[in-house]
């Protein structure tokens, strides 16, 4: 019963709250959507924290997402031993990068009085959760080897079962508690998304790649006459 609460109810609640609150925050208080950068107040440590953190975590998230979208392709990819080795080592390296990056970011917030002044409780909750999550991820990669392989046959089918509204928790209930914690912390982060600065993830400005370089907005001209 408790497993159902953890692995069925909680993920659904987290995702539902995230979507509804995220959209309603965007519609009602768009001003609050910001990455809340603190680079203006502290520059040096930020580089060593922010760059490895963001690039590390983006790559890792993609690697978590790809097997979910293309399970068989991912399986083929891992069928070769060399490729599996490379993937595992890369993953471990990236995980280390994120752990170091996030630790630096947290230390930076504590050590710089200026940055501390703009740090909220929500920020702390988010930072601590993120550090815990990547640290556990790193530990799992180190201790329970070949995760890139067994992830495909445990967590992936569980998440797919949630996606198609036919929850099957037996895929994950037998996993070590550390792995289970990692899964739940992942959905906790989803829950945190609309209430923290994490919302900036969904405003990443891809459109910059193709929008006209100059932006002109007319109050009155009909749209077809707009020439930036």
């Amino acid at each position: 019963m408790f497993d159902i609460v953890l692995f069925v109810v909680f993920p659904y609640v987290a995702v539902t709250v995230a979507i509804i609150s995220g959209i309603s925050r965007y519609r009602q208080n768009r001003f609050s959507y910001s990455s809340l950068s603190s680079q203006f107040l502290e520059n040096r440590t930020l580089f060593w924290g922010s760059v490895p953190w963001h690039y590390g975590v983006i790559t890792l998230l993609t690697a978590h997402l790809l097997p979910l979208l293309f399970p068989s392709l991912w399986g083929d990819l891992l069928s070769d031993r060399i490729r599996l080795y490379v993937l595992e080592v890369t993953g471990l390296g990236l995980a280390l990068m994120t752990v170091v990056g996030m630790t630096l970011l947290i230390v930076r917030r504590l050590r710089s009085p200026r940055v501390l002044a703009v740090t909220s409780t929500a920020d702390w909750l988010l930072l601590i959760t993120l550090l815990t999550q990547v640290a556990i991820g790193f530990w799992i990669a180190l201790v329970y080897r070949w995760g890139s392989g067994w992830y495909l046959h445990t967590s992936v089918p569980w998440m797919i079962s949630l996606l198609v509204f036919q929850p099957e928790i037996q895929y994950v209930t037998a996993l070590p508690w550390l792995v289970q914690f990692h899964l739940l912390a992942g959905f906790f982060l989803v829950l945190l998304f609309p209430f923290t600065r994490l919302v900036h993830v969904f405003t990443y400005p891809f459109t910059y790649l193709w929008r006209p370089i100059q932006v002109v907005i007319w109050n009155r001209r009909p749209p077809q006459k707009q020439r930036p």
Binding site: F31, S34, L41, F195, Y208, Q214, V215, W218, R221
Partner: protein, 505 residues
């Protein structure tokens, strides 16, 4: 021809007394808020000097504005980043000025003056940081090197001094020749703004009707590229709300027919505001011109508002009759295009700034000789006492060229020669100690006529309020009427935020 209207500005530097009234007027209206304390949308700098933020003109450091691409003809690109590079640098912007490049804002612990326990010493009010709320050492301020701040240490780091010879630079710091002038700066509301080009979120935009560059607080996501992209450092990052902000040219005042606060409050009456009509089809061409051609190309964008073809094209583009009339009476058009006196600041940044400066004449050349105020040098140049000679200008002309004409000395000299002609003409008229021959000579050298000089004198020295500020009828009530039922807004009221601009979680 794609004619558009632009609210443009002229600052007459010869009239600026460096009183900072403009800065205070702006601060009191717009930036006396948490997170904006350090911002001076309008600031006044002493030149030579490093300015605010420190060394803002050094684009090797800040990467603002546009540059010509190597080997790709005359195409220009942002100096800051390519589109992909911009997205890659989003987690850490390598060229962002930090609060230390401006100054850490502070207040004083005034309360201590009243609440301090009785003692032998006078109680003091310590400086308190407005960011951390803790006591701090003041190491810089918004005008730290105002009037040289007592030493030429700051002035020596002025990036424009690179254009001078060693000898010229030494002269500048010579005690008897020390010279400086003031450079008031606001957002230039450029035609090719670097901030707009650099913003990944597309939050910064140019208003089509009047060309005012604005920054949508709803769309800004604190990627902070606009701060780097603007070579004039006139977009600022609000560290509290996590949004960038900039000068809005007091558009709520403009829309109700008033001059912007800094213009209105200017004690020296150095500021002029008016509409220019320009050809948007040629923007890219003008911004990509070779450096020595930039001022010329910039001027050539500006169209004659009296020309029938221009009027026709303007009307075809939806520019109202009233706006065209405002352009025809624009003092800016006279200073910039007709008289060619006013020049853009740092044209080499290629943003096509629409704030123009009449370069300062600077004081008369003279020195103390044997304890006597001696201006014999000026007399020997046959310019009579009290009149500057360009050849003996106290501020090297190349310094002015570095500021106002992308290094093209001829452009600045033309402007100066006309102003010298104005001085000599008026001297002859008012005092009568200059011969008619000399006057004619000066008029010829300045490429001007007595009639034009009279007009320049009038607009420079004796303009009325309405002549200085030809505020166009922006007719926002009409612009909005088509998109919004005014009654839906009836009870919401007021401009600005409908909720306090609080920092998001």
């Amino acid at each position: 021809m794609d004619i558009r209207a632009q609210v443009s500005m002229v600052f007459h530097l010869d009239k600026c007394i460096g009183c900072h009234t403009c800065s205070i007027a702006c601060k009191n209206i717009w930036t006396d808020r948490k997170g904006a304390e350090y911002m001076w949308w309008n600031n006044v700098e002493t030149k030579p000097g490093t300015g605010y933020p420190t060394a803002w003109e050094d684009q090797d450091k800040y990467k603002g504005g546009w540059e010509q691409q190597n080997g790709k003809g005359s195409d220009i690109r942002l100096k800051l980043h390519s589109r992909l590079g911009g997205l890659g640098n989003i987690f850490f912007n390598p060229y962002l000025p930090t609060v230390d490049d401006y100054y850490e804002p502070w207040t004083y612990d005034y309360d201590h003056l009243f609440s301090a326990p009785e003692g032998d010493d006078q109680p003091t009010a310590r400086a308190i940081s407005l960011i951390t709320g803790k006591p701090m050492e003041i190491e810089a301020g918004p005008n730290w090197d105002d009037d040289y701040g007592g030493s030429p240490v700051y002035a020596e780091n002025d990036p424009n001094l690179g254009a001078l010879t060693e000898e010229e630079r030494e002269q500048l710091t010579e005690m008897e020749r020390v010279v400086f002038f003031y450079l008031p700066r606001i957002c230039n509301h450029c035609l090719n703004p670097g901030c707009v080009g650099a913003c990944p979120a597309g939050a910064v935009y140019k208003r089509g009707e009047d060309g005012i560059v604005l920054l949508s607080q709803e769309k800004c996501r604190a990627w902070r590229m606009c701060v780097s992209g603007c070579p004039y450092k006139k977009t600022y990052f609000n560290w509290s709300t996590g949004k960038s902000e900039k000068c809005i040219l007091c558009y709520p005042r403009l829309e109700s027919g008033q001059a912007p606060a800094c213009f209105h409050s200017c004690v020296g009456r150095i500021r002029y505001l008016g509409v220019l009509l320009y050809d948007a089809d040629r923007l890219k061409e003008a911004a990509s011109a070779p450096a020595e051609q930039l001022v010329h190309e910039h001027r050539s964008l500006i169209q004659n508002p009296h020309h029938p073809l221009v009027i026709e094209a303007a009307k075809a583009n939806g520019i109202s009759e009233a706006m065209i009339q405002a352009a025809q009476h624009s003092p800016v058009y006279k200073f910039v295009k007709q008289w060619k006196l006013a020049l853009p600041l740092h044209a080499e940044f290629r943003t096509l700034p629409m704030l123009f400066y009449v370069p300062p004449m600077l004081p008369v050349l003279a020195k103390i000789k044997d304890g006597v105020y001696d201006n014999a040098d000026a007399a020997s140049a046959q310019l009579g006492p009290l009149l500057s000679s360009l050849e003996q200008a106290r501020m090297p002309i190349r310094y002015m060229a570095s500021l106002f004409s992308a290094g093209n000395v001829d452009v600045v000299e033309d402007s100066y020669r006309k102003m010298i002609a104005v001085r000599i003409y008026m001297r002859a008229k008012m005092v009568g100690d200059v011969s008619e021959e000399e006057v004619q000579q000066a008029l010829q050298a300045g490429g001007t006529t007595a009639e034009e000089v009279e007009a320049i004198v009038h607009l420079t020295a004796r303009p009325t309020f309405e002549e200085r500020f030809v505020v166009p009828p922006l007719a926002r009530e009409v612009a909005i009427e088509q998109t919004l039922d005014p009654f839906t807004q009836k009870r919401e009221g007021g401009f600005g935020f409908r909720r306090a601009p609080a920092r998001g979680a």
